[in-house]
């Protein structure tokens, strides 16, 4: 029982982690919370679903296509809703509001085009359960966990070792210092939002697949969970987002398993509140910079 729930929790947590990394990347370079992330997450889920149902490709291709679409949406988001606001004399809250606007727009369009009903993946689309004796794991879970972990590993290498990754870190630290090193901050911000949106999109497909439910409002609640993970981990901290995602996933699953299923969100968020009492700057945030790495 315990081991089984742990596996379930880690699977769910890995999805939250991928979602929250997207938020944390954007927070790092722009210092804003991207409220449109949930919308892009939802579009990703729909793209993945249609790739599977209409074009009948396998799930990995579907995720890849969803990520490309997500990246394109990310570019548009940055170009339309964020870049024009990156001038002097614009309130620092303006980009936050404009991402909320984008999020409402995306959801409305999705409602209009696809209707409010919940759609699911084809029955028996992905194999059954594998029984390890101690615990069972479904193919869906293996894919969810596997893809999330691969994405996180790739991201880690990208951020730590590549030139663009280091440029993203430099811009996160200070846009001005980065530009003094010859880095074009506009380009780096654009790439970061694209990368974050691609990750959000992938998380959308994986969550849609895990819960077997895709609908236009699915990004709203999960958007808040992403936000909670972002704050729990420490704003702008990638490791924090990963660990925070797993903590939220595991605590949610355990609260359901041990008798408090209707309180699952309350238990999970209650735990986050307690952790924040202990470390207000987030698990991996540093105190003097208000949670920034």
């Amino acid at each position: 029982m315990f081991l089984q729930q742990l596996v379930n929790g880690l699977t769910l947590g890995s999805l939250y982690a991928v979602l929250a990394i997207g938020l944390t990347l954007v927070f790092g370079v722009l210092n804003i919370i991207n409220m449109a992330h949930g919308g892009i997450f939802m579009i990703g889920a729909f793209v993945g679903l249609f790739m599977v149902t209409v074009f009948e490709v396998n799930i990995f291709v579907a995720i890849l296509v969803a990520m490309v679409v997500g990246a394109i949406l990310g570019y548009l988001l940055e170009f339309v809703a964020l870049r024009p606001l990156r001038k002097k004399n614009v309130s620092h809250l303006a980009p936050l509001i404009s991402t909320i606007g984008v999020s409402i727009f995306i959801e409305s369009v999705a409602l209009l085009v696809w209707g409010p009903q919940t759609r699911s993946f084809p029955p028996d689309f992905i194999g059954g359960l594998i029984d390890f004796g101690m615990f069972k794991i479904s193919m869906v879970q293996i894919i969810g966990l596997g893809v999330s972990i691969v994405l996180m590993l790739i991201l880690n290498v990208l951020i730590k070792k590549t030139k663009i990754g280091k440029a993203i870190r430099a811009v996160s630290l200070s846009t001005e210092t980065a530009s003094l090193l010859g880095i074009n901050p506009t380009l780096v911000i654009s790439v970061t939002v694209m990368l974050a949106s691609a990750l959000g999109s992938a998380a959308g497909v994986l969550v849609g697949l895990s819960f077997d439910a895709v609908e236009p409002m699915m990004g709203v609640v999960i958007g808040f969970k992403g936000l909670a993970v972002l704050i729990l981990g420490g704003l702008g901290n990638i490791t924090g987002a990963m660990v925070g995602g797993f903590i939220l996933g595991v605590s949610e699953v355990f609260s359901v398993a041990y008798g408090a299923s209707s309180y699952r969100d309350a238990v999970a968020f209650g735990l986050i509140i307690l952790l924040l009492f202990w470390r207000p700057q987030g698990l991996f945030g540093s105190k003097d910079k208000g949670g920034r790495p």
């Binding site: 003094l180 090193l181 074009n184």
Partner: protein, 236 residues
């Protein structure tokens, strides 16, 4: 090499520079001195495109750079060692130097890192340490090393001696002389007027946004006004 003509710049309603003219000839060390709030840093920021002048023109090697973006100005060959060093705190010393060469694609980046390590052996010892854990003097060395990694034709230094121990200050000024001797033109902003005038060829004195005095550093050093205002009234 660098020419600032009638530049007016400021922040919002505050005009920090009230039409200044300044010239940095190739191969020289030029010092810009003045008290706090005189507009020294604003001059540097205007050259780098971090502050956009409302009037006037800045040219570098004959090219108008007034409205260019900061990263393009770096590519044109100007590097700034910013006030407060601005080290990339969560990157190692080595990575900081690597980032200094961000605009370069040639194969000699590693050789240049070795040259920086030779100039500042302490950075070699600490090459894996995070930039944020270095002492002030080491961070200043790293900031200078990082700026040199871009192979600038013109190096701008904004208050390189600020907050450093006297011995370290001497070392930093020695290094600035070496850099100049190796062919890089230097524009130096300093509050440490004595040292700044000692190593400079030319000097400008900035007071509340205006150049009040300029000329060969030797002359400025013996100007009674400068002696009284900045050098405690006596010549060394």
């Amino acid at each position: 090499m660098l020419k600032i003509e009638n530049v007016v710049a400021g922040y919002g309603h505050i005009t920090a520079l009230k039409s200044i003219n300044l010239e940095v000839p190739q191969g020289s060390i030029v010092s810009l001195i003045g008290a706090n709030g005189a507009g020294k840093s604003t001059t540097m920021r205007s050259i780098m495109g971090l502050v956009k002048p409302t009037e006037g023109r800045i040219t570098f090697e004959g090219k108008d750079i007034t409205s260019m973006k900061t990263h393009d100005i770096v590519k044109a060959g100007i590097s700034l060692v910013p006030e407060g060093r601005q080290i990339l705190q969560d990157m190692s010393v080595y990575e900081n130097l690597e980032m200094g060469a961000y605009i370069r694609k040639d194969a000699e980046i590693n050789d240049d890192i070795k040259k920086v390590f030779k100039r500042f052996p302490i950075l070699d010892e600490r090459s894996y340490q995070l930039g944020g854990t270095l002492s002030g003097g080491q961070q200043q060395m790293l900031a200078i090393g990082r700026a040199l990694m871009a192979r600038p034709k013109l190096l701008l230094l904004d208050e390189p001696s600020m907050g450093l121990a006297p011995l370290v200050v001497n070392e930093i000024f020695e290094v600035i002389k070496e850099i100049s001797a190796e062919g890089t033109t230097v524009l130096l902003v300093e509050q440490n007027v004595r040292q700044a005038l000692k190593i400079a060829d030319y000097a400008y004195v900035l007071e509340t946004g205006k150049i009040v005095l300029s000329g060969p550093a030797e002359e400025i050093r013996h100007d009674p006004r400068v002696m009284e205002a900045y050098l405690g009234g006596k010549v060394e």
